[in-house]
């Protein structure tokens, strides 16, 4: 039954989207961070999705999703003049993270909608399969 593969397809999409939500959460949490783990300002991260074939062989019918890489945004961070700040440089500027909050919120909405879509796909597939199991019984 090819319908059973829907669970692995949608399941992979759900886990990829939840990873995306995770990254969005860490970006939003670090929107005002001055120093990241490397001492530099925090760099916004972004997941890169890739199609992952789930079926046997080269069956393109069941194409799941996987997160291929998590890339860091290399644009320079926000610079704010604040000479009294302990992290201020010689010119008195503090470099904050390069997280764009509006972009991250949009990303979050998109991820949660996709998550919902895939959950709905799975519940539809589940109810259809349960009805298939009762075939000829009623």
């Amino acid at each position: 039954m090819s319908m059973f593969q829907i669970f692995s397809v949608s399941g992979s999409a759900v886990s990829a989207q939840s990873q995306r939500l995770n990254v969005v959460a860490s970006n939003l949490a670090n929107a005002d961070t001055v120093a990241g783990p490397d001492g530099q300002a925090y760099k916004a991260r972004q997941v890169v999705f890739q199609t992952a074939l789930m079926g046997a062989g080269n069956d393109i019918g069941s194409a799941g999703v996987k997160v291929s890489t998590i890339s860091e945004d290399q644009t320079p961070g926000r610079r704010v003049l604040d000479p009294k700040h302990p992290k201020a440089d010689a010119e008195g500027y503090v470099t904050y993270s390069n997280v764009n909050t509006v972009e991250e919120m949009v990303n979050m909405i998109s991820a949660s909608r996709s998550y919902q879509n895939n959950i709905e796909v799975m519940s539809t597939a589940k109810s259809l399969l349960l009805k298939t199991l009762q075939m000829g019984q009623s």
Binding site: M1, S2, M3, Q5, I6, V9, S10, S12, A13, Q17, R20, V48, F49, Q50, T51, G55, A56, G57, N58, D59, I60, G61, S62, A63, G64, V65, S110, A111, S114, N117, N118, V121, T124, A125, L128, K131, T132, M135, G136, S138
Partner: protein
């Protein structure tokens, strides 16, 4: 005589297998709605059903569809030729890649992803309803057959 009963079921079985295959395709499209460069696929259901039923010979040979994939069997427009023992059979209802169509999005996307979520969701709902309809047809035929087999005074 039983042949006639199973022949009617055979058509519905093929339809059900194709419906579940299409359901899987649409689920893949929905799963990849955010994957850059993904091309949405869909199938021509009418053509696929026509080919599937003519290949398995509905009304003629009523071999179970699963048996169509025995080694050496190569005929049938939706069957890949399997000339070596190591060749894998496509699962029932699975399509060759060349038989799948590309669906184009109504609005183009920056990341060349061609999934049109509105249409995919609509097709998914449509396909689930039709899957259930096919299931009911099968249940109906089974019930009819069982009723016909019942003895007169069994109630």
């Amino acid at each position: 005589m039983l042949n006639r009963l199973t022949d009617a079921l055979n058509f519905q079985t093929q339809a059900l297998a194709l419906r579940s295959e299409r359901q899987r395709l649409l689920a893949s499209n929905i799963a990849n709605a955010d994957t850059p460069g993904y091309q949405a696929r869909d199938m021509d259901f009418a053509r696929a059903l026509r080919e599937a039923t003519s290949a398995s010979g509905v009304g003629g040979n009523s071999a179970s569809p699963g048996a169509a994939g025995t080694a050496g069997a190569s005929a049938g427009p939706n069957n890949l030729a399997r000339t070596q023992a190591g060749h894998l059979a496509l699962s029932m209802g699975a399509r060759r890649e060349s038989e799948l169509l590309f669906s184009t999005a109504a609005q183009t996307n920056m990341d060349s992803n061609s999934v049109d979520m509105d249409r995919e969701r609509a097709s998914f709902a449509d396909n689930s309803v039709k899957y259930e309809a096919t299931l009911r047809f099968i249940n109906g035929s089974v019930r009819t057959a069982l009723d016909a087999m019942k003895s007169h005074n069994a109630g």
